[in-house]
Amino acid sequence: MKQLIEIYGWPLTTFFSVCVALWLTFLIVAPQFFMIELSLRFEERGDRLTKIVNDLDVLYRDKGTKKYDLVNGPACNSTGMVNPMMTGDSSCGEFGEEDKLRLEQQVHEIEDKIQSLLVEEQNLKAAKAQQFPYSARNYTSMTGLHAWTLTKTIAFALIVTLIALAVCYPVAYALALRSGPIKTVILFTALFVPYAVNELMRIYAWLMVFDLHGLLNTLLDLAGFASFARDEVIIWYRFPGAVLVVLVYTYILFMVFPIYNTMATLDPNQVEAARDLGAKTWRIHWRVIIPHTRPGIAVGCIMTFMLAAGSFSVPYIITRGLQPKWFTQLIYDKFFESSNWNQGSAYSFTLLLICIVFIFAVMAIFGVKLRQLAR
């Protein structure tokens, strides 16, 4: 802090500190806290209280409708037929006394029901308030299907990570140790250009490849392995591989860069020394290059895995409903389709926990310390 003040002076240092504090509070701590708190509150769907709340909603609506009818008379459609469901302002006459009495009677009955339900609701709420509000039920109540989805998502993310590692290690090696400055610039440009395009556009571009009448099927048609005429084409979206390919493509830079960065710090003499001592290529990689590159590989794997496991847009856009949902899509549905933020929070926190476990597992496998990762 003292150093910061020396470098930037009081006003800037204060500004920085406030910004950091705001960022920490409102973008990290508060949302995370809110999410965890939500996830620990189980919202019962289908218990008596929920039913009462729903019933009350219905009763209030009925009461309103009937009162409206009492004032405005029966509604009617254009043919002049009485239609009690319609509440338009075109009045089609008036109720008889008998009808009015009947309606008033009904309103009274509804009001009575409402009254008794309100009492019951109040009692139930009071009882609930007495209970301890937190439980792990949001976590434990995950259905078998959702657990299977979660398992599959993690497995796919692992596969994506492995494929990306297999693809990126040679690329990083070529960039860091085997190419002159000009070649490196060209390769980097080639790597970067696709990333200048918006991520969604990049994903959509793959639709052109996988579409029914897309590139792959057209090529197969031309080669005679498939036929548009006989409707014998492959529906690529149906294969999980399609999602994997696009995920690898989308997150490849996050694997290439950490590996490249650490590999570039390797003293080329080490490689030459190993070769001079008679080591073959694979041994040079296994004994000299990979041990040096471990932190980069670990960071690359962690980033790729977290991004793949948390990817929403890729499975959403590529599968178009033709494959089982990914876990991220389930989370989305919990939040925005069934309005169950509590369970949604629990699901996303579960995914986060798995990612954290993965980080530590990777660090253990590669024997990398947190301090090395930070470099």
């Binding site: 003499n269 030459e272 020394a273 190993a274 070769r275 001592l277 080591a279 004994r287 041990p291």
Partner: protein, 413 residues
């Protein structure tokens, strides 16, 4: 004895202990430790390295001009030259990391054309040593054996023998960054020797060490070379290193071998102005040749008539340079037989073992080294004379001088 080598904190001491121990066991062929070393000494023997018209090019730039060179089997051979002279390129061509643009390299009986570095009977010690930081000392040393598919137990046994040879006992489980500079140096030597090379190539391996350690490691390297009989090719820009360690020295400049000779002859009989000015200190006096007689050239200079040994091929009438070492100069009033130059004293530097006199002829400065005894009789205040024998001076046609920043005629004035 071995215990001291293991535990002693001052490793120079430990090495001394270890080497003296070995010297006795080697000579007397005792059992025990000496047997282990003799296994090793049997396993390696140097091979000669022959370069025929070897040249190297990087694009349009010629790093090494066609060079013929014979390095004898079991020789300690140094290639000495300023940075950028092509000496490292020579080394990389011999080790196989670089293909010559022309010519052929032969090691022993085998032509090395197209043979990759890992199949040559050479081992390279890098300037920064390039030890593997994630391997322990013994794994580093055994890496070459590992690459050759030697089993772990055998690998370890041989590594321990080499650790014994370079007196690193007790350090085998450490990582390179836990060792001192000199210890790392020895790991690098042991690692290179483990593959039983016929030729060991050393690329300025001492340049990262401090002066004391460097001087000590010179003796150590020389000792290892003698013991193993491996051909050492040593690259350096440090003339002290080259002169003290080597059987023969090649002085290189701009991709050409200026002179290949023993250390003594390089110093006493330089054959080009570059060698004369690069190796050791020299006073340079310029003039024109008037007479050459019985190998003695007479030079007309602004300082008068000077005489010195003529190098072969010197002709009358050419611009020439006379080189005379500071220690060959005598200061005094009594006339010296062959050459005599009037000078004024500029500075007297007490160097310890000798006294460094900076003198001025009015045109240029001359440096003379006087022993303490001779210095006592010098009258400081008056104008004086320096003299030298014709035998101590060398006259050769003017040519390129080494840019060493310590040219006598540029030093002062």
């Amino acid at each position: 004895m071995r215990k001291s080598a293991t535990l002693d904190a001052g490793f120079i001491q430990s090495w001394r202990a270890a080497t003296s121990f070995r010297a006795t066991t080697d000579e007397t062929s005792l059992h025990g430790e000496a047997v282990r070393i003799s296994w090793w000494a049997r396993a390696v023997h140097g091979k000669e390295v022959v370069l025929e018209k070897v040249s190297a090019k990087f694009g349009d730039f010629t790093a090494v001009y066609p060079t013929d060179l014979v390095i004898n089997a079991g020789e300690f051979f140094s290639i000495l030259g300023p940075s950028g002279c092509g000496k490292t390129t020579m080394l990389r061509m011999i080790s196989g990391f670089l293909s010559p643009a022309s010519g052929s390299i032969r090691i022993g009986e085998d032509i090395m054309l197209g043979v990759p570095p890992n199949q040559r009977p050479t081992a390279l010690i890098f300037q920064n040593l390039a030890l593997f930081p994630y391997m322990s000392v013994w794994e580093n040393i055994a890496f070459g054996l590992e690459a050759r598919g030697v089993g772990k137990a055998e690998r370890r046994k041989r590594a321990m023998e080499l650790i014994d040879l370079v007196a690193l006992n007790g350090e085998e489980m450490k990582k390179p960054d836990e060792l001192s500079g000199g210890q790392r140096q020895r790991v690098a030597v042991a690692r290179a020797l483990a593959v039983e090379p016929s030729v060991l190539l050393l690329d300025e391996p001492l340049s990262a060490l401090d002066l004391k350690l460097r001087q000590h490691m010179r003796a150590e390297l020389r000792h290892i070379q003698r013991m193993t009989g491996v051909t050492f090719i040593y690259i350096t820009h440090d003339q002290g290193e080259a002169l003290t360690m080597s059987d023969r020295v090649a002085v290189m400049n701009h991709g050409r071998m200026e002179q290949v000779d023993t250390s003594d002859r390089i110093y006493d009989r330089p054959s080009t102005p570059f060698v004369a000015s690069f190796v050791g200190e020299n006073n340079i006096l310029r003039g024109r040749i008037t007479v050459i007689e019985d190998g003695v050239a007479t030079l007309e200079s602004e300082l008068g008539t000077l005489r010195g040994r003529a190098v072969a091929g010197l002709a009358v009438g050419v611009d020439a340079m006379l080189f005379v070492r500071p220690e060959a100069l005598k200061i005094g009033h009594e006339s010296q037989s062959d050459n005599r130059v009037a000078v004024k004293p500029v500075r007297r530097d007490m160097e310890g073992a000798y006294v460094n006199w900076v003198l001025s002829t009015g045109e240029q400065s001359i440096v003379a080294h006087m022993s303490k005894a001779d210095d006592a009789g010098i009258d400081h205040d008056h104008s004086m004379h320096v003299g030298f024998a014709a035998v101590d001076a060398i006259v050769m046609a003017s040519g390129e001088l080494a840019d060493t920043g310590r040219q006598v005629d540029e030093a002062t004035n």
